[in-house]
């Protein structure tokens, strides 16, 4: 079972605390989380840490976190800084759900 979380347009130090709190709440229900980043066009250093922290919490609870619709610029930044290695990234929600059998 996976729940979908819709991320806002910008994941930076201003939006990060709230987004982090929302994602962590979803793990409390024992669900895997698909983070829909289709509308997210900017992720700052703080934002990358929200994603990584979410991943770490998921792993500690034997859960998974998936990213969907990550734009090329953000994907590139994640690649250059090594953050990408933790995530399974899908172009579309359908692809993601098909792969994880949800």
């Amino acid at each position: 079972m996976a729940v979908v979380y819709k991320m806002g347009a910008s994941l930076d130090s201003t939006s990060s605390p709230k987004e982090q709190e929302n994602i962590l709440k979803l793990f409390e229900g024992g669900d895997n989380v698909i983070i829909d980043m289709t509308d997210t066009n900017y992720v700052s250093s703080a934002g990358l840490r929200v994603l990584l922290y979410s991943y770490k919490v998921a792993v500690s609870k034997n859960l998974n976190v998936y990213l969907v619709g990550v734009c090329d610029d953000v994907k590139d930044i994640m690649d250059m800084t090594g953050f990408i290695e933790h995530f399974e990234i899908f172009d579309t929600m359908e692809e993601c759900k098909k792969k994880i059998g949800d």
Partner: protein, 721 residues
């Protein structure tokens, strides 16, 4: 539970404050506050200046109250800052009295000497706004990186093969084929190439923040822009060069560099940083206020009695390395790069300066060097000195080491270059270099591992230019060819510069193979200059510090054009890494002290066991007995190297091997590829076990071992059924 010492006690223009913690210096996130702390011995007042990102004017300037000034440290916590959208600096008040060494000017906004993230030169070559009153801006860093299990590799120093490289030059060339040319990410993309070459350590030319626009100017020759490309001029000692990161425009250079180190480590490659603690980018009396001179000029710089700057660096000023507070900053910086970036070692530019006292005089036991040699965090970090400075202090072989410091062995470079061009008066010197320079490093138990051997480095000719030019050609640098080294010990093989004459090009390739063979079969840590393995040329420019263009950038097309060189480098490096007898840690005995039948090392000549120096002192041979490298139950082979730098062919009588052993030929630089070198371990047996003919200006490398018995293939008996 809330800590009571994280409770605001003061308020200034709506910002909550309290007394800060003096340690650590710099800006540190503590709970929901940022702790700012800065040292100045002579400042009377200090103001913290805060900007939102990229804004011209600060949004607040907070004076440090009297109660925030402990000893000579100003420290203050500011609460609830959005530190991702924050740039900070300081104004320092105090005397302006240059004769006494003081240059305080509170109109200047100064960068934090401990800034771990510096913005202002985020995209390489993008013209800054020169009217901006705060050019190099300190920022607060996210220092949490997911290292996993990574740590410095601690490869034994004698096992290293170092590759000296420049972040931009390595991948800026059009044919590099990487997505982000000239960046840390670009290097990461080339890791498979580095692995194929076989190096296990990259030494990065300066990656601390510097300003490529320092002394930038159009070339008087053709008008193209000259930049401070090499970066031997620090703006900050704690921050990576933003414009070396593809993500620098997003201020993520810290993560990008850490990711590069992590990936290199995962592939068994260490990272050494070339660090420049001898001077800063602030220049002399006429230079800009960036940080140090405005914060505490008299502390940070070596000054003459009249308050002028000593110039032992040749760059305008000299960092006051043996002032206790500057010394602490240097130690803090090195520890930071090891703990936070997992860096494996440092090469110290003009390191002789680090041993000068505050008046510029060389010390016998410089406290800074001693501190570094004994530092707990740097306990296994490689420390390599460029053991000279621009003030004439030359300490190769005598650099104060406490058994910990290695040195760039400039004497290896000079001797091998002279031998390579058939100089008749250098053989004794060459022999010392081949056996790990015992004349320099046998004392103080320093050993072979103290000698970093090289024939080319960023200063001077590339290997291809060493065999293509008699003289330097630095006209493009715009200084009428006055800059750069004049004594290059180079030989153009008969034509100055590139040419189409086949015999000359053949000889040049052979000379390059000779050089790298000398380097890889000598005792000591070999260092290869990036690009030499593909025959990179700088068209005779031996000081390409300002050529941010095709002169200094590697042309990756050369990899195909000079495929034989790459193949040769790859195999001779592999050969060295396979044979521990080439990688001793301590000097050799030159006798058979374990009664194994052969000495650990022996000199030969055209006659076995007779190191006769005939033929104009241009022939030598040596043999290593691999049984002496048996530390773990596996002896190595015998290795015999015959070097003939005479222009005629000579027969070299081979030492007789133990029964069942045969001489095999690994490399013969005279031969046309692919017969010049073979796959290590697959060497064919030499036909005449008594003698080899070594062509003029050629080297042969032989391996003495028991011939591999070819497995008989099982024959299936055919039946007539």
């Amino acid at each position: 539970m809330q800590r009571v010492d994280l409770f605001p006690t003061h308020e200034y223009q709506g910002l909550k404050l309290r007394t800060g913690r003096p340690y650590p210096f710099g800006a540190t996130v503590v709970g929901n506050a940022v702790n700012f702390s800065i040292y100045s011995r002579y400042a009377t007042d200090c103001t913290l200046v805060l900007f939102h990102n990229h804004e011209e004017e600060p949004f607040v300037e907070i004076p440090f109250k009297k109660e925030f000034h402990l000893g000579n440290v100003f420290s203050m916590m500011v609460f609830d800052l959005d530190y991702e959208n924050l740039e900070y600096g300081f104004r320092m008040d105090g005397p302006f009295d240059p004769q006494q060494g003081h240059r305080f000017d509170k109109t200047k906004i100064l960068m934090d000497p401990y800034a771990k993230l510096i913005v202002g030169r985020d995209v390489w070559g993008k013209q800054p706004d020169w009217n901006n009153k705060y050019q190099y801006r300190s920022r607060v860093v996210f220092d949490d990186f997911d290292w996993g299990d990574d740590l410095p590799l601690e490869t034994p120093v004698n096992d290293l093969v170092i590759y000296e490289m420049h972040v931009r030059n390595f991948t800026c060339g059009a044919a590099s084929g990487v997505r982000h040319p000239g960046t840390f990410a670009g290097i990461a993309e080339k890791i498979p190439y580095l692995k194929e070459l076989g190096v296990n350590c990259v030494e990065l030319m300066p990656i601390h923040e510097f300003d490529e626009f320092e002394n930038s100017r159009p070339s008087p020759v053709d008008g193209h822009m000259l930049y401070n490309l090499w970066g031997y001029s620090n703006v900050g000692f704690f921050a990576p060069k933003a414009a070396y990161a593809s993500t620098g425009k997003f201020s993520m250079q810290v993560d990008e560099l850490k990711n590069l180190v992590k990936q290199l480590h995962a592939n068994g490659i260490e990272v050494i940083l070339d660090v420049v603690f001898n001077h800063t980018a602030e220049g002399n009396e006429n230079g800009p206020y960036i940080s140090y001179r405005g914060i505490d000029n008299k502390t940070y710089y070596m000054l003459t009695q009249d308050g002028y700057y000593f110039n032992f660096s040749g760059c305008g000023n000299t960092l006051n390395c043996n002032n206790p507070n500057v010394r602490d900053m240097i130690v803090d910086s090195l520890r930071y790069w090891v703990t936070d970036y997992h860096v494996d070692g440092f090469r110290f530019d003009l390191a002789a300066i680090l041993g000068r006292d505050q008046n510029g005089c060389p010390m016998s036991n410089p406290p800074l060097l001693e501190s570094l040699a004994h530092d707990p965090i740097l306990g296994k970090t490689k420390l390599i000195a460029e053991a000279w400075d621009a003030g004439g202090l030359y300490q190769v072989g005598s650099f104060p080491s406490w058994g910990r410091w290695a040195e760039w062995n400039g004497k290896f470079r000079d001797a091998m270059r002279r031998f390579l061009k058939s100089d008749e008066h250098v053989l004794d010197d060459v022999k010392e270099r081949i056996i790990g320079s015992p004349d320099l490093y046998a004392s103080q138990n320093r050993g072979i591992k103290a000698s970093v051997n090289f024939i080319t480095a960023h200063d001077g000719f590339t290997m291809m230019d060493l065999v293509s030019y008699d003289g330097k050609h630095n006209e493009q640098n715009g200084e009428d060819n006055r800059d750069g080294e004049d004594r290059n010990n180079s030989w153009n093989c008969g034509w100055e510069g590139e040419c189409d004459i086949e015999s000359i090009n053949y000889l040049r390739h052979k000379q390059i193979k000779n050089a790298v063979t000398m380097l890889m079969t000598s005792q000591g840590i070999p260092m290869v200059l990036s690009g030499d393995e593909m025959g990179n040329t700088q068209w005779g420019n031996n000081n390409a510090y300002c050529q941010d263009n095709e002169i200094a950038w590697l042309d990756w097309n050369n990899l195909e054009k000079n495929a034989d060189l790459f193949n040769y480098y790859k195999k001779i490096i592999k050969f060295r890494r396979m044979h521990k007898v080439l990688r001793y840690e301590y000097h050799l005995g030159h006798n058979d002290y374990r009664n194994l039948g052969y000495p650990d090392f022996s000199w030969h000549g055209v006659k076995a066991w007779q190191p006769w120096t005939g033929y104009n002192n241009l022939t030598l041979a040596f043999m290593l007995n691999g049984q002496y490298a048996d530390y773990d139950g596996t002896p190595d082979d015998f290795i015999y190297v015959a070097m003939n730098m005479h222009w005629d062919m000579h027969g070299f009588e081979l030492p007789q091997l133990p029964e069942e052993y045969k001489w095999h030929v690994f490399a013969n630089t005279e031969m046309a590829p692919p017969a010049d070198i073979c796959e290590p371990g697959e060497e064919p047996v030499v036909e005449n076990q008594g003698e080899v003919l070594v062509a003029g200006r050629s080297i042969m490398v032989l391996v003495g071992k028991k011939p591999v018995q070819k497995k008989k293939s099982k024959k299936v008996k055919k039946t007539n059924d």
